[in-house]
């Protein structure tokens, strides 16, 4: 499968007014294949959203990319000039539904005005009527009532707003859609209809790939092909959904999976402890494995950077799984 997008050793920092760097993403590499749903999970403040902004090419001050490269269809994309970016990339190649987008809509504009804005930015000569017609067709084909175009945001429920934003964001058939916590403010029933829409967009070929950012692992278990687990600005484990959710190797992934509260018989008897402690201060991340301070399997060697270990398409950054041939200990 050709890589649709590839991120190479991304370091993306926030510059504070006092001149410090907050190392939100600190050396992340990952590739996204055509046709797949890639989940990015981890606790709040671990860099998921920042990584998404870099991949979406929407980096804005105080965030800046210190080093690394994003390749789009093999072409370096971080250094594109703003005009090419706006005309050729945004909305057309990569589209993004940021976190909380449904609460950021202009309350004085109808949904159709939003759709017209999106269409006109890329097709300056399209008439308002044509733009609305395109949006109407798209909504109808996805089983949504085209009447939402005449509504103001406050007239729509949360689940409907999120679906409408997703449809408008994909009007130009982008190859890649990046969604950041698209369902975290919704109840389970609305969550399901939003997810259904995303899968529908993918199956109809309107979009080719999805990057799905969430801290809800049970959700990723049902939508993602591969999952990347982030902790303190780095990947700790990356691989196929099944491997990660059911046979996690990194202690952090294991603890994340263990903290899930789901209504399945038997869960009530377990004591769920969660993960004690907090992620480190990203101004001065600790040397070595960043999870060591909270890890229940910490060893002396963990004060050194864990090298990545790759096995059957899965990567784990943990000394516990370090291959013996490299000379390090492995249990």
């Amino acid at each position: 499968m050709p890589a649709l997008l590839e991120a190479r050793d991304i370091k993306a920092y926030y510059r504070t007014p006092s001149g410090d760097d907050i190392k939100a993403v600190d050396g992340v590499s990952l590739g996204l294949n055509e046709g797949e749903v890639l989940g990015i999970a981890g606790e709040s403040g671990c860099g998921k959203t920042t990584l998404a902004q870099v991949i979406a090419l929407t980096v804005q001050k105080p965030l800046y990319v210190r080093s690394g490269e994003v390749l789009l269809d093999g072409m370096p994309a971080l250094t594109l000039d703003p005009e090419t970016m706006r005309r050729e990339i945004r909305g057309k190649t990569i589209s993004t539904v940021p976190q909380g987008a449904m609460n950021s809509l202009n309350p004085t504009l109808r949904i159709r005005d939003l759709a017209i804005d999106v269409m006109r930015d890329h097709h300056p000569r399209i008439t308002r009527r044509e733009a609305v017609e395109r949006a109407r067709e798209r909504l109808a084909s996805l089983g949504l009532s085209p009447r939402v175009l005449d509504s103001y945001p406050h007239q729509l429920s949360g689940g409907m707003k999120q679906r409408v934003i997703t449809v408008v964001s994909t009007l130009l058939d982008p190859k890649l859609l990046i969604v950041d916590e698209p369902t975290s403010a919704l109840d389970v029933t609305s969550q399901k209809v939003v997810i259904k829409l995303l899968i529908d967009l993918l199956q109809r070929g309107i979009i080719r790939s999805i990057v799905f950012i969430t801290h809800e692992l049970p959700l990723l278990r049902h939508v993602a092909d591969r999952i990347a687990i982030m902790y303190a600005g780095k990947l700790v484990e990356f691989g196929a959904m099944d491997d990660l959710v059911f046979h996690a190797k990194h202690p952090y992934t294991q603890r994340l999976v263990d903290s899930i509260l789901v209504p399945e018989p038997g869960m009530k008897e377990r004591t769920v402890t969660g993960i004690p402690g907090r992620p480190p201060d990203m101004r001065n991340p600790p040397p070595g494995c960043r999870f060591a301070a909270r890890c229940h399997e910490k060893m002396d060697i963990c004060s050194q950077d864990p090298p990545g270990f790759e096995h059957q398409g899965r990567e784990v950054w943990c000394w516990l799984h370090q291959d013996q041939e490299t000379g390090a200990t492995r249990r």
Partner: protein, 279 residues
């Protein structure tokens, strides 16, 4: 006050031990005439002392409105709420609501609205003692606040010096739980208390609340759309739909064998690890 043994709680215990909190015909109608919306529709339930229950429903099911009426923050259109057998309206007339709120406390879904943003966290937390008829000396008040903040897993000195807007949603929710630890009420009504807290620390916060039940015989009423969380914490579940309780019973029974079609749908909508999720 008679404590229900932990883990007990099919409605009968409440009748035997005397309910700490009960509702009879509890109804709330918003608007009037053609625009009337029945948010809560004739609820009847009894909650025994020491029980942990959850009111579960989607957005708009009336669960938050029910919580507000239980707290006396909203007047019911019809029906009554009783605390240890006494009507809330009577309690209000007799002692005002302050005494009631010393016994029945809340953690709300949006903690930003619950903390005065002009005050430092320290002042917000110390103000908690205004609910007490006799305030302990300052040193003791501060000590209790510090212990409570430590218990919920926050950095005490860091948090105390800040203002509410400088904290994350999760930190504010933890603070609200800390506030409860200071007050030690008999009943806690927790409306989506962990909605802004990461899955990894959600369980830890919930365990703190459950410990309180074990130690002090707290009664906890969770109001949530998160069935997984409700199942983990609660003895008994009430499933609300369109203002009514459509199913109630021991948590295990409802999760294993839901009877009402709505409960079945709700459970099917939750993505879990083992079960296939039919989209």
């Amino acid at each position: 006050m008679v404590l229900a043994p932990p883990g007990s709680g099919d409605g009968r215990d409440a009748a035997v031990n005397g309910a700490i909190l009960s509702a009879t015909g509890l109804t709330k109608v918003f608007g009037s005439g053609r625009h009337a919306t029945v948010a809560v529709d004739h609820l009847d339930f009894e909650i025994a002392a020491g029980e942990v229950v959850a009111l579960i429903g989607e957005s708009g099911s009336g669960k938050t409105t029910t919580g507000r009426m239980l707290l006396g923050l909203m007047q019911p259109t019809a029906g009554t709420v009783r605390f240890q057998g006494t009507d809330l309206a009577t309690l209000r007339k007799r002692h005002g609501m302050k005494g009631y709120w010393r016994s029945v406390q809340a953690v709300f879904q949006d903690p930003f609205a619950s903390l005065n943003s002009f005050y430092s966290v320290k002042r917000c937390m110390l103000n908690t003692f205004k609910l007490f008829p006799r305030k302990p000396p300052y040193a003791e008040r501060l000590q209790r606040v510090r212990e409570a903040i430590h218990t919920v897993g926050l950095d005490v000195d860091d948090v105390l010096a800040k203002h509410p807007h400088q904290l994350s949603g999760g930190q504010r929710q933890r603070l609200m739980v800390a506030r409860t630890l200071v007050i030690q009420p008999q009943v806690l009504i927790a409306d989506e208390p962990t909605s802004m807290i990461d899955a990894s620390s959600r369980a830890a916060i919930l365990n703190i609340l459950l410990d309180l039940r074990a130690k002090f015989g707290f009664t906890v009423i969770f109001i949530t759309h998160d069935i997984g969380m409700a199942y983990y914490t609660s003895d008994r579940l009430f499933i609300m739909h369109e203002g009514r309780i459509v199913e109630e019973g021991p948590a295990d029974a409802i999760i294993r064998d839901p009877q009402h079609a709505y409960t079945q749908r709700l459970l099917a909508d939750v993505p879990t690890l083992q079960r296939e999720w039919v989209l």
